[in-house]
Amino acid sequence: MTGEWLDIGWVDEIPLRGSRTVQVTGGDDIAVFRTGEGAVFALADRCPHKGGRLSQGIVHGGAVACPLHNWRIALATGEALGEDKGCTPTVPVKIDAGRVLICRATALKVAA
């Protein structure tokens, strides 16, 4: 792989309708989600409301419910859904032969 993408592991290490985190030394974690259909998304592990760890929320459809006050965040855009307003930065993801790759530059920016 080139330096542009970070290889973070196998797709099936992320439970369906669940998530894992990538620890960025010196910065915030990145949350990596897998929906019921197997689509993978990465976002800053930080709710736009009060910084809740989105990685610990319940994943349903294409959204995650924040564990602190139940805001729903769209995984693809990071936007809060419904009445709530706010946005969590997203990190581009690609899957290559079963490996999950996240964009290095964005990951750095988001974690900092």
């Binding site: 970070l6 973070i8 592991g9 099936d12 290490e13 992320i14 439970p15 369906l16 309708r17 669940g18 894992r20 985190t21 990538v22 620890q23 960025v24 030394t25 010196g26 910065g27 974690d29 990596v32 929906t35 019921g36 259909e37 197997g38 689509a39 998304f41 009060k50 910084g51 809740g52 760890r53 610990q56 929320g57 319940i58 994943v59 349903h60 459809g61 294409g62 419910a65 564990p67 602190l68 139940n70 729903r72 769209a74 995984l75 693809a76 855009t77 290559d96 032969a97 990951a107 750095l108 974690a111 900092a112």
Partner: protein, 826 residues
């Protein structure tokens, strides 16, 4: 012009050599002949000793629905008539690009002007011990089918590893041929790349009903046997006997030849839009290629590729731009279709139709007024229509509301307004298929005073079972009553038209066993629910099926998933159980050590008479628990919709007013009730005298000891809306107090709605009802208590100890750690 066919040997036309006599190789030649039959001299090398046949029909051959002859695409005459030389059974082993020759295994060397590589894919064989034993095969060609047929002839057990399209078709064929088949699938959903959870569940149930055993989440450790296969051992130790093992876990593009020849190879042989490789004289097509980062495993893309390839070879360059694919399962009687992207995401909307009585699930994903994906189960008639709309990117805004009913309905004129369509139905028209209720009966019921959906459901049963006719019943109510329709009780959430009680009743009545099953049978309008209904369904199933239902971690709120309370900064607090509020030096020392060892910023005595350790990191939780376990402490469930604390006072052992051993009884009660999952949190207290120092009268179950026995009361709670308990009854002995407590908890577990604490529940059903069930009905009380104790047999394993032993380790550890150079993050 040099294009006239001449006798071989003196043919001066450019020589096109094709490696691979499969679907893509031959199709490419067909496309070329259709454009210019005389331009190239063609030689095809094939590793298999056959003419060109339709590989996808190997499944029907295995199932006995077709013979090999029936699946041949091009017979020997075709090669002869087109002057194509077929070299079958002799694979090419090397390409010499400088000399422009290929060498076959027989040693034969053939020169080329243009070379076409169409070597397809190889089955992926998972690298486990025993993979090379005789009897372990892939499912790719006629030889594999012959092998399976021979094995089936001998009978016995077969294991198919892989629950994708190929694996399920193999399993179906083998079971039709009389073998006892077990399918091992590592993922939680069959065909997870093509199907969503709901459709995967339907498929699994249908295959199980046909006698196959399907093990999901099954991870193969090794294939056992000395001279031939004898069985498969899973990582969890299970041994499944088998005389045949079919590996259908995936395919890998067959690129060895190209790689050795020095062509650019990524996951497949890299080609441009005209299927030309990094060497302009060499083309490649089919499953062996990688185009624009994609490799394909289905035939439809090959057809597009072959067209572009033939255009290029005849100097009419058109170019291939990638393909969208759709999948159908070729198993007789099981209709499954999927296409496009159904992962939802940004702005995507799901339209879901479920018809439980006919076993149908349809889901169309729409984004920006265009179809982007579809999953159909049970009725795939409209698959191609959706796929067509998808490929063309057609705007579906106008037909959106009727889209899910299919082409006939969405484009039909008069029916397009659902209200008039329902009004036009005759009185004999059956509205509710489950309960056989006609429109006339629904009207009669409404006229008889049923003015809400709920009243109709209990009055004539329409819409009471699967709910698929709810929309029609609501339309009937509106037609008959106009604005006078009364709103029914609240539905569980936006995903369903049923309330909590209906869902619970149907789970038991229909013996449902999993969340996807409930969602299918009760017509959920979302594919996998939401953060309100998932935890509720998980609890209802857990309560209905003690020891059978497997808890779904992804349907639990974080605290219950991590067995600790999440704090606002993302750390966790840990509360070990202190039975009845008692502790001892060993426990206190262990807690003190944990606080120091993990640098916990705070430790506090809770309002529930135990100690709470704050600021523990998710990664450190298992280690903290290991230390607490070592001192004999278990999870205090301060995080759960479950039994929390049993508060006690000192009681007769020390207190000058104490009448009974309230501390001892509290400990016993906590030992009996800990670990139980409930609709909401549940607190108990035992006070030693009516001074009530343990505040027993604001607990879910309270005991106040008196000289002559024990006064039991229920339904209290602190919190925002304080409620004192209702008196239940007085009993004479500790055993009775425990027995009533067990019965009361079980009644609450079975009948309260998820997230309804005992106080609001009792306000809703009335304390008289609870007394009637617990005090007046002795047999009922015994049965409830017995069900509670039975369910506790499966609940009283310390969840902390399980994590310490390694269960769900991934919940605590990051997937990866990334340490950027210091200057980058600064």
């Amino acid at each position: 012009m040099k294009h006239e066919p001449l006798t071989p040997g003196v043919d001066t036309r450019d020589h096109l050599v094709v490696i691979g006599n499969g679907m893509a190789g031959c199709r490419a030649v067909e496309e070329l002949l259709a454009r210019d039959p005389h331009r190239y001299r063609v030689t095809i090398f094939g590793a298999e000793p056959h003419v060109n046949y339709n590989r996808i029909m190997l499944s029907p051959v295995l199932a006995g629905e077709k013979t090999f002859e029936q699946i041949v695409i091009n017979d020997a005459d075709w090669y002869a008539q087109n002057a194509i030389e077929l070299v079958s059974g002799d694979p090419v082993v090397a390409i010499d690009r400088a000399a422009r020759t290929v060498t076959a295994r027989s040693g034969r060397v053939t020169g080329y002007d243009r070379l076409l590589i169409a070597t397809g894919s190889d089955p992926f064989i998972i690298p486990v011990p025993g993979k090379d034993l005789p009897g372990v095969i892939g499912f790719r060609d006629m030889k594999d089918v012959d092998h399976m047929l021979a094995a089936a002839e001998r009978g016995g057990d077969a294991v198919v590893i892989g629950g994708g399209l190929l694996g399920l078709e193999a399993a179906h064929g083998l079971s039709l041929r009389g073998m006892k088949v077990t399918v091992l699938h590592i993922m939680p959903t069959l065909m997870e790349r093509q199907l969503d959870e709901a459709a995967g569940w339907l498929l699994k149930s249908a295959l199980e009903a046909r006698g196959q055993t399907i093990l999901i989440g099954a991870d193969t450790a090794e294939i056992v046997g000395s001279d031939a296969v004898e069985g498969v051992r899973l990582k969890d130790g299970t041994l499944i006997p088998a005389s045949l093992v079919v590996m259908a876990v995936g395919i890998r593009p067959s690129v060895a030849l190209a790689r050795e020849a020095g062509l650019a190879v990524g996951r497949g042989i890299q080609v441009d839009d005209h299927m030309v490789t990094s060497d302009p004289a060499i083309l490649a097509v089919g499953e062996c290629v990688e185009h624009d980062g994609n490799v394909y495993g289905l035939v439809a893309p090959l057809w597009d590729m072959c067209r572009a390839l033939a255009d290029g070879l005849t100097d009419a360059h058109s170019g291939y731009r990638g393909s969208v694919t759709s999948t159908k399962l070729k198993v007789a009687g099981l209709d499954v279709f999927s296409a496009g992207d159904f992962s939802g995401g940004d702005g995507a909307e799901d339209i879901v139709l479920r018809d439980a009585s006919r076993g149908i699930y349809k889901r169309v994903v729409v984004k920006d007024d265009r179809i982007v994906g579809a999953v159909l189960y049970g009725d795939t008639a409209d698959g191609n229509w959706y796929f067509d709309l998808l490929k063309k990117g057609e705007n579906v805004a106008d037909i959106r509301d009727l889209l899910i009913f299919g082409q006939a309905f969405a484009s039909g004129g008069a029916q397009a307004d659902p209200k008039s369509a329902v009004a036009a139905l005759s009185d004999d028209a059956e509205i509710c298929g489950c309960n056989g209720v006609t429109k006339g009966k629904v009207f009669a019921c409404i006229d008889g005073g049923a003015h809400s959906l709920d009243a109709v459901r209990s009055g004539c049963k329409a819409s009471a079972s699967c709910g698929s006719c709810t929309g029609i019943v609501e339309t009937l109510l509106a037609l008959r009553l106009g604005d006078e329709v009364e709103a029914g009780p609240k539905t569980m959430c936006k995903c369903t038209s049923f309330g909590h009680d209906d869902v619970r009743r149907e789970i038991v009545a229909q013996d449902m066993r999993s969340i996807p099953e409930v969602m299918q049978k009760l017509h959920w309008s979302t594919p996998d629910g939401c953060s309100s209904c998932r935890p509720a369904l998980n609890y209802y199933l857990l309560c209905a099926l003690p020891g059978i239902y497997k808890d779904d971690q992804q349907s639990r709120f974080v605290n219950e998933r991590l067995h600790a309370n999440i704090q606002k900064d993302g750390t966790y607090s840990v509360v070990p159980r202190m039975w009845g509020g008692l502790t001892n030096p060993r426990e206190l020392r262990a807690i003190a050590d944990v606080v120091e060892k993990y640098d916990a910023p705070m430790v506090k005595v809770t309002g529930g008479q135990r100690l709470d350790i704050f600021g523990i990191k998710r990664e450190d939780l298992p280690a903290v628990w290991a230390d607490l376990n070592a001192a004999g402490m278990v999870s205090g469930h301060a995080y759960g919709k479950s039994l929390r604390t049993v508060k006690t006072c000192v009681g007769s052992e020390w207190c000058r007013f104490g009448t009974q051993d309230s501390t001892g009884l509290g400990v016993k009660v906590e030992r009996m009730t800990w670990g139980s999952w409930m609709p909401h949190k549940f607190k108990i207290a035992v006070s030693g005298c009516p001074r009530n120092c343990a505040e027993a009268t604001i607990k879910d179950f309270g005991v106040v000891c008196v000289d002559s026995g024990y006064e039991l009361s229920v339904g209290g709670n602190g919190g925002i809306k304080v409620r004192a308990t209702d008196f239940l009854c007085k009993v004479a002995t500790e055993e009775e107090a425990m027995h009533y407590c067990a019965a009361f908890i079980q009644l609450y577990r079975e009948e309260a709605r998820y997230l309804e604490r005992t106080a609001p529940w009792i306000e809703r059903v009335g304390v008289d009802y609870v007394r009637a069930r617990i005090v007046d009905d002795a047999a009922g009380r015994d049965a409830l208590a017995e069900r509670f104790l039975f369910s506790q047999r499966f609940m009283q394993d310390d969840p902390w100890a399980a994590r310490v032993a390694g269960a769900d380790r991934e919940q605590h550890a990051p997937m990866a750690t990334f340490t950027p150079k210091q200057e980058v993050l600064a």
